[in-house]
Amino acid sequence: MWAILSGIEGNLTAFQAVLRDIQTLNIEQLYILGDLVGINPDSEKVVQRIRYPHADELSPQVCRGWWEEQCIILHGLVATGEPTELEVQYGAETAKKLWDSVSSETVKWLAALEFGFVELDCLLIHGSTVSVSEELTPKTSPWQILDRLQRMEVNHLFCGRSGEVFDYELQAGSIATTVTTLDSQHLPQTMTTAQKRLIGVGSVGRKPPKATYTLYNPYTNGVEFRTVYY
């Protein structure tokens, strides 16, 4: 069984509550799909807690989230010059708070995080295969969702950007297509797509006092959403 978390956003209390819940379950792998940090003075403590788990805890696999991306941009560790997205969404004052919340040593560690993980036929990622900022939800165009799954040739995509919990199953699909070239016209073909799923894993720290995260059984494809109040 895998436990999949996202959106801690520096909320240490929420994260520790979820860790305690995980301890009661038979979990083999722990994934954290980004947004470890946020505008929260405990961001640094959350990162330390993740980097140095207790002896009886799993060592998590962690990928980069939107807030990590903003930290990395703020500290000039990527080519993008200005923290435009952060300022547009939250204002310049928030950029200053984020700067104060996370040390430059921690930002260097965040910068080395993976963009996402492919395990079996699953992609685990913060946003989408296009961008860490892209928010996939049940309201997203189903064609776009299918495209984001196909880009990595996976059947399951776990994401955390929206903070929502959902199980979105593309059950069947078809399309008729014909190609005409200078030399020939190919006969019409009907293409179909295999079943694919997009799973929103929830948010640990964004909506106090309620933390949500996801359990996934890779042997049965079973998904269970967990809610922990703290």
């Binding site: 189903p142 064609w143 299918l146 959902f166 199953e169 078809s174 297509t177 190609v179 005409t180 200078l182």
Partner: protein, 271 residues
């Protein structure tokens, strides 16, 4: 309205002149160009001047972008290290030749143009480096048209012309959310969509040296893939005369991509 759409002229003035003559003979009311005015060929300024003089609405191609912003595409833009090395030579030569006025013109070209239910792009709606190949997965192709919010998506970049119809798209979806007691079952359909790749005026790769472009009737939705013969040897000789890599002349004469294919043509360069 009968429109002509062309792309990828790549500094080949003789090919452009032949295509413009063919367009005139077919009484098209409007011409659109999908970029890559420069690169590979020996007459970048002459081609840009012609497009400017004729006031042809044009979108920016990847070569046009690189001449403005500096060569910033990653190696994914080329199918091999050898192709990349030659591409850099062509970039440097063009960069030295282009006039400030023409560089300024290339810099202000839009990435997309939208006229009614038609969208014009160089590569794809998401990147002017992305190749929309005829053999691309049909669902992926449909997503690109839907992303453009058009019914007909005109593109170039691959240098091989084709028209692809995408019809009766259908998806069945089940959504489960803990806050909602019942599962939602949703059905999605799409009307007829088309991708029209107009090939290349100045550096074709469909197996013959002829220039290609497309005539499209916006009322009847009829299309015609046009192939125009011209004196390509003239351009081949000029490529060698100005000191560009001779392989570009060989490739133009064959109408073929000589190198191996890129491993992932849909890869979008993040740089």
């Amino acid at each position: 309205m009968k429109i002509a759409v062309m792309s990828c002229i790549h500094g080949n003035l003789a090919a452009l002149e032949a295509v413009l003559k063919d367009i005139e003979e077919h009484s098209c009311e409007q011409i659109y160009c999908l970029g890559d005015l420069v690169g590979y060929g020996p007459f970048p300024n002459e081609v840009v001047n012609t497009i400017r003089q004729l006031k042809i609405p044009t979108v920016q191609g990847c070569w046009d972008e690189d001449i403005v912003e500096g060569l910033n595409a990653c190696e994914c833009s080329y199918p091999s290290l050898l192709a990349e090395k030659r591409g850099i030579l062509a970039h440097e030569w063009t960069n030295n030749q282009i006039t400030p006025e023409n560089r300024q013109y290339l810099s202000q070209l839009p990435e997309t143009l939208k006229i009614g239910n038609i969208c014009f792009v160089h590569g794809s709606p998401q990147s002017n480096h992305e190749y929309l190949l005829a053999e691309m997965d049909a669902f992926t192709a449909l997503e690109r048209v839907l992303a453009s919010e058009a019914d007909v998506l005109f593109c170039g970049h691959t240098h091989i012309p084709y028209v692809r119809t995408l019809d009766s798209g259908q998806l069945e979806v089940k959504v489960s959310q803990p806050d909602s007691e019942n599962n939602q079952f949703l059905s999605f359909t799409t009307p007829l969509k088309r991708i029209i790749n107009v090939g290349s005026v100045g550096e074709p790769r469909h197996g013959r040296p002829n220039a290609t472009y497309v005539i499209y009737d916006t009322f009847t939705e009829e299309f015609e893939l046009r192939e125009v013969a011209y004196n390509y040897q003239e351009t081949c000789a000029a490529i060698i005369d100005v000191g560009l890599p001779p392989i570009f002349a060989w490739r133009l004469a064959k109408g073929l991509e000589y190198a191996e294919k890129a491993e992932d043509p849909t890869h979008i360069c993040e740089r």
